[in-house]
Symmetry: C2
Subunit: 189 residues, 2 copies
């Protein structure tokens, strides 16, 4: 048989960018982190203009970050949000962030999630989602977002996941514009 296995890791710049010991108290502080990750991913040419983080809702403790790694790791599933979920669950050795005895966790994403990431939000165990740039800001760059409807968000809200839109949207959108200015690849399948 062919031996197929894969490894998922962070780009080297994460070491220097992310302050793991800091607590991220406000929604804006949390979003600034996700946006900083998205910007570094563009500036270092390690992926698309999308960044994310998982934090404990109450304490603001940082659990993991994520950045689009589709091209770097030749893996279509590695959007920023997916990377953040995988890394957080790897760190906690748990397939859910809502396990027994765990504090509430939230996803912070520099852009509203695509259909895949929206589905993964349900399985991840996060209780809250902060979004920066809007779907239209991404599709303006010809990034597809897939079948996400108002009913999709309603489905999450019905299951107790609260969604906050447009947190520092202009700062988040500026990174999308930077990517466009650099003619970064648009890598839809």
């Amino acid at each position: 048989m062919p031996h197929i296995a894969l490894s998922i890791d962070y780009p080297a710049w994460v070491d220097g960018l992310v302050d793991w010991d800091r607590v991220y108290v406000t929604d804006e502080e949390r979003m600034r982190l996700a946006i900083a990750v998205s910007r570094a991913n563009v500036e270092h040419a390690t992926g698309g203009p999308f960044g994310a983080a998982i934090v404990e809702s109450e304490t603001g403790r940082l659990v993991a970050v994520g950045m689009n790694s589709v091209v770097r790791l030749h893996n279509c599933t590695l959007h920023g949000e997916m990377m953040a979920f995988m890394m957080a669950q790897q760190r906690l050795r748990s397939f859910t962030l809502a396990g027994p005895g765990m504090p509430a966790h939230e996803l912070v994403t520099s852009c509203e999630p695509c259909a895949m990431c929206l589905g993964a939000i349900l399985w991840s165990g996060v209780r809250r989602v902060l979004c920066g740039a809007a779907r239209g800001d991404a599709t303006h760059l010809r990034f597809e977002e897939g079948p996400v409807f108002p009913e999709s968000y309603a489905y999450l809200e019905d299951r107790g996941i609260s969604i906050v839109h447009n947190v520092l949207r202009e700062e988040a959108r500026a990174v999308l514009e930077l990517y466009r200015a650099r003619s970064g690849p648009v890598y839809n399948g």
Copy 2:
């Protein structure tokens, strides 16, 4: 910083189960492979009752298989379909299965995809999808499927992805029943 990285591999039984040199010509042959993977995953207690495969549409050449690995690898994103996409793209060193010069690929899945996997189908580059068991067969076991609507499938079809439902549905559903009989964990987030 915390060092976070992860590895994704197959359970050891894949070696003995999968004939990588065989070609899978008909839809039924392809689905029997996905169902065999789902069944082995239950019998070896390595994950949920879901299996998948990626094959070249014309030749029937097998590129990768996938099996639910959520609990085994503590990673909520590792549904059978996602594992199949990741492994196929790793083997081909390409973030899309529709790259220049590539033959058409298709996804074979022992159960209709959840919202996350449906979104990933779009990004994967497959041109066709074969489904075994139906959404209702999974939700009957209390596996959630997330916000998938008729419009979601229409969105894929509009982008040239053809979907075939109910291929060997009864054989696929029998594995779900086997999982229930063994009281396998239902691991929604």
